[in-house]
């Protein structure tokens, strides 16, 4: 009887431990999913990142040291002095109101360079939001009516998918209408974002790559059990899609500006891999890294990957304006999140890659 009770108790303890362990694993995935779903819809076009910065800040405990630079970038500083700083850019590529026509339609301009010629063509015929001083205003990017397209217009259909011809319909019938709704020149404009979960394996949506990286850094800070055990500083940079004028290679302005806040080196850039076309010729399993100029960090990264059984590939030399902003002045490396269809509405990241990157970050940032 006693032996039976002992055996039963032993197996019960095993079951409870297994459940707790599984819960820990599930919790990691669940809490990441919850954060992604909460933060993904928040707008952050270059120059208007504060909604996302504020949303990130709300999750940070008040006990840690939080600084902001003058552009609005957010920095969590390691109380122990920092042997490592993780940085990621939070801004997304958007537009600004360029003009308000007399008939109420809005023209658009871009504040940051287009990543490739076809970029603008994904947005006509879909929704946008104008972030005015009095609140968001919904709009649609107009297209010609199919039925009454003339033959000449059909031959020049590509013209309607060019920024030069973007016209936003907000329902306003005059300039006064549009202005009464709160619209003014230079208001930020973002294309609609739709977060999807394909087959339970892939997060998909415009800008999901950089948003995931911002969430991973936040999750890493939130997961630190004691802030005395923190081993890194964290920076969410703004205006990384805007470059220092005349810089060769291009340097992200927000990253250069944030040098004043940088307390710990080396620098580890966490970002979507900037050349997704390369991925076709490389294995898609696991992460990529650029050793850069941080030799010892590179060794730590390799060791962390090996400890967790994470496949890690060295990426070819690439032009990353965020990494470029640090390389000259600090030992710097980059860990890349593989992304499919970068800078399109169908941008995709694999859950498994996100979890792998999260493990790597935790390994590197907790004593």
């Amino acid at each position: 009887m006693i032996i039976r009770v002992k055996q039963i108790s032993f197996f019960l303890c095993l079951l409870i431990l297994a459940a707790v362990f599984a819960q820990g694993l599930i919790k990691d995935d669940n809490s990441l999913e919850i954060l992604i779903k909460e933060l993904y819809p928040v707008p952050s076009p270059t120059g208007y990142e504060y909604p996302l910065i504020d949303a990130i800040r709300k999750h940070l405990p008040s006990s840690i040291r939080i600084d902001k630079d003058y552009l609005g970038g957010l920095h969590v500083q390691n109380p122990n002095g920092s042997p490592l700083t993780l940085v990621t850019g939070v801004d997304e590529i958007g537009y600004i109101v360029g003009g308000i026509k007399e008939d109420g339609f809005l023209t658009l301009d871009r504040a940051v360079p287009s990543p490739f010629p076809l970029f603008d063509s994904f947005f006509p015929g879909h929704g946008v939001t104008i972030w005015t001083g009095t609140g968001p205003v919904r709009g649609i990017l107009a297209l010609p009516s199919t039925h009454i397209l003339s033959r000449e217009a059909r031959r020049q259909l590509s013209d309607y998918f060019s920024l030069n011809n973007f016209l936003v319909d907000t329902g306003a019938e005059s300039r006064e209408d549009a202005e009464a709704a709160g619209v003014k020149y230079c208001d930020p404009v973002t294309p609609d974002k739709h977060l999807q979960n394909l087959a339970g394996r892939i997060w998909n949506g415009y800008g999901i790559g950089s948003r995931s990286c911002a969430v991973l850094l936040l999750q890493a800070v939130m997961n630190i059990p004691e802030y005395t055990s923190m081993n890194a500083s964290f920076s969410w940079l703004v205006q990384t899609k805007f470059y220092v004028r005349g810089s060769r290679p291009a340097k992200a302005l927000g990253a250069v500006h944030a040098h004043q806040m940088t307390e710990g080196t080396p620098i580890l850039v966490i970002a979507p891999y900037p050349k997704p076309d390369d991925l076709d010729s490389m294995t898609r399993e696991g992460l990529l890294y650029t050793p850069g100029s941080a030799g010892r960090l590179s060794a730590r990264i390799s060791a962390a990957a090996e400890a967790h059984g994470i496949s890690l590939q060295k990426a070819p030399e690439i032009n990353s304006p965020v990494l470029n902003a640090y390389m000259q002045d600090y030992p710097s490396s980059a860990l890349w999140l593989p992304v499919k269809y970068l800078h399109t509405p169908s941008e995709s990241v694999f859950h498994s890659d996100l979890l792998a990157l999260m493990k790597m970050i935790e390994e590197l940032t907790v004593k």
Partner: protein, 370 residues
């Protein structure tokens, strides 16, 4: 205590509540219902040839006392009354979209298109695949080398559309639930530009469907109008008026009133040489289009009834066909009615609430007074 005074005070206090109750039951509901019906209908998938979900919804909405019918194509209709003339009001339930034609060994979907649209609108966009079980999220993959320098935006055909649902093989895709023949729409959403203006996929012709439903709810079917009335929600209009063609032979109408879009040229890219009817100015008598010319006396009759009932209306000519045109060879007069709409056959078809209300009022008036 003055009981009489207390009663007066109580009654006075209750009056606002009583008046509010009267307002929402007698005045607010009718005008609200067509807009609400439209918003519901817009979210139901029904690509041409796959309209059964819409037919299911309609059959639930039509009271059994009207004896609704449904055929194997998923046309839905009811007929009531008797008399010398037979009036048919028709709206189509189908929308533009895609059908799964092939599942590749890599688990991607190749598709065919239903209806006329600009394929470029789909590139890179999220879609929904409606399987036999549950809807499945997917994306239209950007073209190969989408980030290259030499790309012509609109050089993108339906044959170029490849859909990724996250599957890694054809077996995986089938386990997710996708099958050849499943319908696909762009991810459905209603963009609210104001309280009275929305933009969405499938306003053409869910708006017409909503008008007929709302008119059906308002009309007193117990009355004797000395004519036969049919309300018909038909299928496959976008692919060739096939649903209407089958019903035209069966119904033998005298007058047919298709309720569909008036493609307005009030959009910023449209040539205003014709079809310039702004939104918010009233229901449209679509006097001339690519498939019919309504004889002037009948246009005049509709105008007279509209004026008599103080219903705002406009008259115009546009492009595109209508379901009523296939009734004409069987002896009917085709009198298309419409609402002015912008950005036809896009994902942002735009409509104004007051036009929909006016159109519903017009259909009710025509049933009662034609």
């Amino acid at each position: 205590m003055n009981i009489r005074m207390d009663k007066k005070i109580i009654l006075a206090a209750m009056m606002p509540a009583v008046l509010f109750f009267i307002s929402i039951t007698c005045f607010g509901d009718d005008e609200e219902s067509v807009w609400t019906q439209l918003r519901t209908l817009l979210m139901i998938p029904g690509v041409s040839g796959m309209e059964h979900p819409v037919a299911d919804y309609l059959m639930e909405q039509i009271p059994s006392k009207l004896n609704p019918k449904r055929d194997d194509m998923h046309n839905v209709w009811f007929s009531t009354g008797a008399g010398a003339e037979h009036l048919v009001f028709v709206a189509h339930t189908d929308e533009l979209g895609l059908i799964v034609e092939e599942i590749t060994p890599e688990g991607k979907l190749k598709v065919s298109g239903r209806g006329g649209f600009i394929p470029k609108m789909y590139e890179g966009r999220p879609v929904t695949v409606y399987t036999a079980e549950d809807p499945v999220d997917g994306i239209v993959v950007p073209r190969p080398n989408y980030s290259g320098r030499e790309q012509e935006a609109a050089h993108y055909q339906t044959a170029d559309i490849v859909i990724d649902i996250g599957a890694v093989s054809d077996e995986d895709a089938r386990q997710i639930g996708v099958a050849v023949g499943d319908q696909i729409t762009i991810q459905k959403q209603i963009i609210e530009l104001s309280e009275d203006i929305i933009a969405a996929r499938a306003v053409d012709d869910r708006a017409g469907c909503a008008v007929l439903l709302s008119a059906m709810q308002r009309l007193d079917w117990g009355r004797e109008w000395n004519k036969k009335i049919t309300f018909l929600w038909d299928v496959q209009e976008e692919t060739g008026l096939y649903g209407a063609a089958k019903m035209a032979e069966q119904l033998q109408a005298d007058y047919v009133f298709p309720v569909d879009t008036f493609v307005s040229s009030a959009g910023p890219f449209d040539d205003r040489r014709f079809a310039y009817l702004p939104l918010g100015q009233g229901a449209v008598i679509r006097a001339v289009d690519s498939s019919s010319i309504t004889p002037v006396p009948y246009v005049q009759k509709v105008m007279d009834i509209a004026r008599e009932n103080r219903i705002a209306f406009q008259i115009g000519n546009t492009r595109g066909g209508n379901d009523g045109s296939v009734f004409v060879p069987y002896g009917a007069v085709d009198i298309p009615l419409a609402w002015p709409g912008l950005y036809s056959h896009s994902f942002i078809e735009k409509i104004h609430r007051s036009d929909l209300n006016d159109l519903t009022d017009l259909v009710v008036a025509l049933v009662e007074q034609w």
